[in-house]
Symmetry: C2
Amino acid sequence: MASALDFMLAARRSEMQGLRSLELTCELVGCIGRLIHALQRERGFSNIYLGSHEERYRAGLDDLTADSQRMQQQVVECFARIDLESGCGADKARLFNHIAYVLHYFESFAELRRRIRLLQILPMDATRAFSRPIKGLLNVVFEAADTAVDPQITRHLVALFNFMQGKELAGQERAAGVAGFTLGYFDPAAQAHLRFLEDAQKRCFEIFNDYAEPGLRRLWRNLRADQTVVELARLRQVALRSSQASPIAPALAEIWFELASQRIDVMKQLEDQMTEHLHSQCQRKILQAQSDLDNHRALLKRLASLDEDASLLATRVFNLQSTDLDASDSLGGQLNRSVMDVLHAQNLRLQALGVELEEARRSLNERKLIDRAKALLMKQHGLTEDAAYRMLQNAAMERSQRLADVAQHLLNYAELLQGKAKL
Amino acid sequence: MASALDFMLAARRSEMQGLRSLELTCELVGCIGRLIHALQRERGFSNIYLGSHEERYRAGLDDLTADSQRMQQQVVECFARIDLESGCGADKARLFNHIAYVLHYFESFAELRRRIRLLQILPMDATRAFSRPIKGLLNVVFEAADTAVDPQITRHLVALFNFMQGKELAGQERAAGVAGFTLGYFDPAAQAHLRFLEDAQKRCFEIFNDYAEPGLRRLWRNLRADQTVVELARLRQVALRSSQASPIAPALAEIWFELASQRIDVMKQLEDQMTEHLHSQCQRKILQAQSDLDNHRALLKRLASLDEDASLLATRVFNLQSTDLDASDSLGGQLNRSVMDVLHAQNLRLQALGVELEEARRSLNERKLIDRAKALLMKQHGLTEDAAYRMLQNAAMERSQRLADVAQHLLNYAELLQGKAKL
């Protein structure tokens, strides 16, 4: 029969187990970051190849494909280490489902690459075919952040997820830019898309900035003042002023690609620092938890050995209950006080942990709200994702409200309008 | 190497496992309800025995003690069936810790009962010695509700938890009434306590009403119109008008106990219905999930058997990716569409589940907020729990705001005042 002390120990072990599964999660997130980076490069360069139709780009493209394949293999190996029987609820179910998407998308890469090399696909379609698996991979990172059990690690994962998301938008911007510059101009839709990508990046990096460590924030500020970024901003202005009537020199495509790639490569370095930091944090936490667990076990063992006379213990527990104050006058009182102290301390710590975790997950919950509001607008007005996002963004600006608040209100009123609200 | 289909299946199994662990939880909650009920009766009757000093009550008390012990044994057996290694995070850790409290309290019962029989304890202290383990048991139910993975079951558990909490307050009211009537009067502190218990009950039953099924709500409304309740309200007025100067006949104690017990017994019947309903809901869900899982497995098997030519599948997936619309013109397109359809459907369902679950847990989160605000006020002003609650309640009334909103604002401002807020 399990005793109070057994359950106290099981509580600790349960925390420990949560941290251990986080360790694999952090490793997975690192692998995913590297694969996304490789796919982003391959996506951008594929557009150069498709746009220029020049065979001299072929070898470079093959190198990038080989990189992607190597990274994909690492992700697949990481997936294979996940215990498929470990799931205990909808949280894990969501994670598994997103992994299933990713694996399903992986199966299409061989055909995509064949068509690119045969020039049998439009740049826009190639971009899309690369962007979906990347989005799927980011969803895996999102679920990893959403199911992490440690507040500090959750904060790191939230910062990292938003950074990766921002970097992906920068990658899409690179591809969109290459497509437009190669064509010689950007039509109004392409220009609107460029503006959307810039705004959406800004929002991601703001959240990154809210959640990242000061050291990483400093590095990010330095990067933003870099000459590459200034040059890119200039080229973006050229793109936004272009039209079919006044085309741009297609040679700018390669310059744009180089500059955007330089910026993204520096982002990747920062991302690598974050994954390393995450990994070491996770290991530090596990060591700490292991040492706490050992101490805890020793303490409980000591308490249990003192606890041979059951009736004496009962008197002690009861003393504490009935008076609360005068129980410290004897060894019995002291002992009992320490069982209660350990219980109380553990309880307060777990409560605080829960509050911090909720706090750390706030931006993830806001993202879910925004996604739901976007989906609602897309369905209601037959909009694209970009357009739905812009609609929300305009509403937020008009009302001087936060995007998440507008999304929440929109969803509330939608319930009311559709008669789903509780009366 | 696990495939997309393996992960899709694992997602389903993971949901299934969550439901299975819910089944044990629901059983545990039922056992806990029965133990609490027995302890409540024993607590109330102990006060009659302690107040009257009459030996004729002894046999009745012994019967109630035997009931409590039998129910306690069932709870302990239920605890023993919990897999102590199944924990995977802070959620389970909180549950285990609350169970440790309860087991620790159980050890004090023998001594408590010995002292009651020797009349070596004040009624107030005896009440407290029973009330703490009951509070501990209710905390276990709260954690069970907070970690349930199904929105509908969570709603039932929230309704049940609040009902049990309200019933416990009714039990405390019974004990407080017996103490005062036996003494012959209620001093101002005792009267304030009676008022607090009435208000707090009201709040619990309001939440019950928000979350319970219509059938249960109807039963509850009927109970409230019952003659017993009217009689009790009349006696409560007598208590609130009493003073040391104008005492009441101590014989009212037994009448009060009988009436309050009748009311609580009817509550117990309603509680039993809720636990039964919970149990059958849980089994229904498990059957449904099992049948879904079987269908899913068959579907995936069919898809996998069609999926022998990898390059063909790649073409299909890719077709879908690049055009989204014209992929349904072949068996390949159809097949691929169904893998994607299953993935999308599963994803949408899991998302909706997450939203519903959050919705169902809202009142639990509000309770956590209120508890934190209460703890803050108790610490800040050295108040009792009752007094801190009244302070919050008055603030809510003055501002015409909900209790949870006042608690949230209080906590926000406390952070600001203590310089913890993010600037």
